[in-house]
Amino acid sequence: MTQAAVVDLVGGLDLGSVARWEAEVGKAASTSGTVVLDLTGVDFLDSAGVHGLFRILAALDGQGKRFVVVAPRHGRARRLLEILDLQSLVRLCESRDEAIDDAA
């Protein structure tokens, strides 16, 4: 079993940075069959970021990759996904450890 590739998204996941994060995740996905997207450090998420996140997840799904998203309760990312009622579309973990266990 290969180790999960972890991508630590920090700062903004928004109009200005979403393309860079898509490229990062693409690179990580080429090294492992399982990808953990850690959104704990995301302090600004906008609609372009939400849209990009789902484009990223759809691409991973299309490549047959397993993926888990870390978005702790009370964090900015979790709150916005809940406000948009998107939290049920993807499994959200509280911590990176939980995500890695879950992906194993």
Partner: protein, 130 residues
């Protein structure tokens, strides 16, 4: 009682100008003693409205977006004005999401279309609204 304070900026429709507006608005809200999570919601709403406005220049050479924010004892009011008229909301994927997100971040949002131009008014209570 808190005094009324105003922040305003005019930005060209460029991403770096938008990012600068975000940083300045965030700093002004902090100076105005708006609670951080409420401030972040307001910043996001303003960002989405400005990004939306910046996206549809009728005449790109003369297309500025103006934001005026006022904080009073009960809340924060933001008015975003631009000189373009908005394209249909289905013109790009994710666009409707931006206005939906902005609306969810504030207590009131209204969009007035003029000829030419659009004005969006956002209001968010600072009195313990979740």
């Amino acid at each position: 009682m808190q005094e009324t304070s105003t922040f305003s900026c005019t930005m060209p429709d460029r991403l770096d100008a938008l990012a600068e507006m975000r940083a300045e608005l965030r700093a002004w809200l902090a100076r105005s003693n708006v609670e951080p999570e409420t401030a972040e919601d307001i910043v996001l709403a303003a960002w989405e409205v400005c990004a939306n406005a910046a996206e549809h220049p009728v005449d790109p050479k003369h297309h500025d977006v103006t934001l005026v924010a006022t904080v009073g004892p009960s809340g924060v009011c933001i008015v975003v004005e631009d000189t373009g008229s908005w394209r249909d909301s289905v013109s790009r994927p994710g666009r409707g999401l931006g206005l939906r997100l902005a609306r969810a971040m504030v207590d009131r949002m209204s969009i007035v279309t003029r000829a030419p131009g659009t004005e969006v008014v956002l209001w968010r209570s600072t009195g313990g609204h979740a």
